[in-house]
């Protein structure tokens, strides 16, 4: 099992947000996590990535059988966990090229590999840019600075392609995207799919799942996964809305 979440309780500043999440993700699988706003979807993603503002109060997260609690943010990333941000951060003064070269080489160093030679790195960049249909000179610009919503999300998928994670968590990557950008982002994910990696796609709408077909759909509600099913669950949610879940919970 790639990821095992057992009875996870977590919160921020003493306020509990996750109230006993259980989730198993295996290699080769795509999981969709859906649910109304404010139920803890982004918190779950952040906690897996190791964001320090959140406190894990109970339960555990096992990744490749190892307890994640002991790993720093960067070590989780180096072990293959990637978080696609809902709101990618703008970092003026740091070019994407240097950002990615630093990231790729730090991950390589962690794995005991030599840094990628400059030429090879640039070739890799070009290849991955094509994958997400980045045609502009995006890569010489500062990270996300002045990017449109669509460019930011494409840039997330581009980074994911560069780092080739084992477990990618995409936090509302579809929000704010027009249909063309959505197709490009989804296409990128589908091309990166391999039998040995897995995706957790967090989304509010069913729309993205027309393009990225999930093996499992989970509904997160008030800090717990209250319903799991196949891709047909997403359609049901689309049709009935989340009120149905809310009522069922009461």
């Amino acid at each position: 099992m790639l990821l095992q979440i057992k009875n996870l309780h977590a919160g921020i500043h003493g306020k509990e947000i996750l109230r006993g999440v259980n989730l198993d993700v295996d290699k080769g699988e795509i999981h969709a996590i859906m649910g109304p706003n404010g139920t803890g979807k982004s918190t779950l993603a952040s906690v897996i990535a190791g964001r320090e503002v959140f406190d894990v109060t109970a339960g555990e997260i096992l990744y490749k059988g190892k307890d994640l609690k002991k790993l720093s943010i960067e070590d989780r990333a180096r072990e293959g966990i990637f978080l696609g941000f809902q709101y990618p951060v703008e970092i003026p003064g740091v070019s994407i090229t240097n950002f990615m070269r630093t990231a790729v080489n730090e991950v390589r160093k962690f794995k005991g590999l030599d840094p990628l030679p400059g030429g090879e790195f640039l070739r890799l960049m070009e290849e991955k840019k094509r994958l997400v249909e980045i045609t502009s000179n995006l890569t010489n610009r500062s990270v996300n600075e002045g990017f449109s919503g669509g460019e930011k999300k494409k840039n997330e998928i581009f980074q994911m392609a560069m780092l080739e994670p084992m477990l990618a968590i995409l936090d509302e990557t579809d929000s704010g995207l027009d249909i063309d950008a959505l197709r490009i982002v989804a296409n990128g994910v589908n091309k990166l799919r391999r039998p040995d990696n897995a995706f957790v796609v967090i989304t509010h709408y069913q729309r993205l799942l027309d393009y990225i077909v999930p093996d499992f759909v989970h509904v997160l509600f008030e800090g717990r996964i209250v319903k799991s099913g196949g891709k047909e669950l997403a359609l049901e949610l689309e049709e009935k809305g989340y009120d149905w879940i809310k009522k069922e919970q009461k």
Partner: protein, 469 residues
């Protein structure tokens, strides 16, 4: 008596010293220059040294620096092996190098160079003998002695320093590097005086480095006067890398004729107590002055950038862009005073000061200040102080970048806005290296200052290609 040793810095000490050595100090004065000197001394007798009761020195106390006690010499102390002290300049940077040791021009055989294109540069003491009229026309007319004790004292004791003259319509073919080194076995009080004249339609690029070689305490009171003629242009770099026992009071006065243009960069990398007085007077319309500052301070280092830009004529543009990163117990003060006078319509003035504090104990006092007496102006000011952005840190680390590297990356990106403004590519590269080392805590004041490039740079374990950021 031409040497005084180990005494604290007091007003009385210098008044007495002046009286005793009046004849010696004035030996080469023209009558006009002597009047300036005597007036300045009277001014100093009235003003004394500043203290924290004065608004512009409120946050910078010199008490500790004054009490240390210093030798003060009225003539150069020893023969200097020029080659040994000024070993080399910035790698690949083709500059004309002129040097000062402990405030004295280091000449060897040629105290004053007169280049074919009419440019004169070298010792101010020599220039005073050789071009008395030229010196008298400018000396003491740009620096204001009447409200600053340090400037008055410097004028009263003026002997040597650097003189640069670029005639009308001449563009200095290569940057001039002025290297000011402090190296002595005793605590040293030193003063030097520089005079730079850039004629109409003339151009000068000047790299002005203050370095120390050892950890001996020093107190420098340096005054530089700069005249820019009509349509004259100057690209000015002030690089400060001094030891933690050094106190530097640097006062630079720029006087800008109509349509003159100035880019001035203050890069403070180390120093015990640094006070930069930066004065710009627009003495004609349509001038432009852009002043940039970067300070990277740690331990108990203290930097005080005090600017005054006087928009006395219409149509002038000025900008102050200062950024700092402060670690441990470091302290920074920014005072950016811009005065827009009643007649200065169409003024465009901007002020910005941004700071990153790495610890709870580092402190910044930032005071951008616009004083405006004309309605037809565009002015803006802003100041921010904060920690490294935690969102950005999380983002970088989530991509596998270690915490330390992520911090470096963000700090360098922050500093690079200033470094990127350096127009001389080789100098920019050099400063990037120095900033990078400084941020990693690896910059030494002695071995790795701008001068000492004879030992090749050690490769740094740092994956970021700073040239491409």
């Amino acid at each position: 008596m031409q040497t005084e040793s180990k005494e604290p810095v007091t007003q009385k000490r210098f008044i007495d010293l002046f009286e005793k050595n009046r004849a010696f100090l004035s030996a080469n004065d023209t009558p006009g220059l002597n009047v300036t000197r005597v007036k300045a001394m009277a001014s100093f007798a009235k003003l004394g040294f500043p203290d924290t009761s004065m608004e512009s020195w409120r946050l910078t106390s010199l008490e500790e620096s004054f009490e240390r006690g210093y030798d003060y010499h009225l003539q150069p102390m020893e023969e200097v092996d020029v080659q040994k002290v000024f070993r080399c300049n910035i790698p690949h940077l083709d500059t004309a190098v002129i040097g000062q040791l402990n405030g004295w021009y280091v000449s060897k055989d040629v105290p004053l160079m007169e280049l074919g294109n009419g440019i004169i540069m070298g010792s101010l003491a020599e220039a005073r003998k050789k071009y008395p009229q030229l010196i008298e026309k400018y000396f003491g007319t740009i620096a204001d002695d009447t409200n600053d004790g340090f400037t008055a004292l410097n004028t009263a004791f003026t002997q040597d320093g650097v003189f640069i003259y670029v005639p009308d319509n001449v563009k200095s073919p290569k940057p001039v590097q002025l290297i000011n080194v402090i190296h002595h076995d005793e605590n040293l009080f030193l003063q030097s005086r520089n005079l730079i004249i850039v004629g109409s339609n003339a151009m000068l690029s000047l790299v002005h480095c203050d370095d120390s070689y050892n950890h001996q305490a020093s107190f420098s009171n340096v005054v530089t006067e700069v005249h820019l003629g009509e349509h004259g242009a100057m690209d000015h770099y002030k690089l400060q890398n001094l030891n933690n026992n050094s106190t530097l009071i640097s006062s630079v006065f720029f006087r800008m004729a109509a349509s003159a243009s100035l880019d001035s960069h203050y890069l403070s990398l180390n120093g015990g107590l640094l006070r930069n007085n930066i004065r710009v007077l627009f003495n004609g319309p349509n001038g432009n002055a852009s002043i940039y500052g970067l300070y990277l301070m740690d331990r108990k280092q203290h930097v005080d950038n005090n600017l005054f830009i006087d928009h006395a004529y219409p149509g002038c543009t000025s900008s102050e862009t200062f950024k700092g990163i402060l670690d441990e117990h470091a302290r920074a003060i920014f005072n950016g005073h811009v005065l827009v006078r009643r007649d200065a319509a169409k003024t465009d003035a901007r002020q910005s000061n941004k700071n990153i504090l790495l610890t709870d104990t580092a402190r910044v006092n930032s005071k951008p200040f616009l004083e405006i007496y004309n309605d037809d102006v565009k002015c803006s000011h802003g100041s921010t102080t904060g920690q490294l952005d935690q969102e950005s840190m999380f983002y970088l680390r989530q991509r596998g970048i270690g915490e330390e590297t992520a911090r470096m990356l963000l700090m360098f990106a922050f500093a690079d806005e200033i470094v990127a403004r350096i127009a001389i590519p080789q100098l920019r590269q050099r400063i990037e290296d120095m900033v990078k080392k400084r941020l990693q805590g690896e910059l030494q004041i002695c071995e790795q200052c701008v001068l000492h490039c004879s030992t090749p740079e050690h490769p740094i374990e740092f994956q970021i290609d700073l040239g491409k950021i």
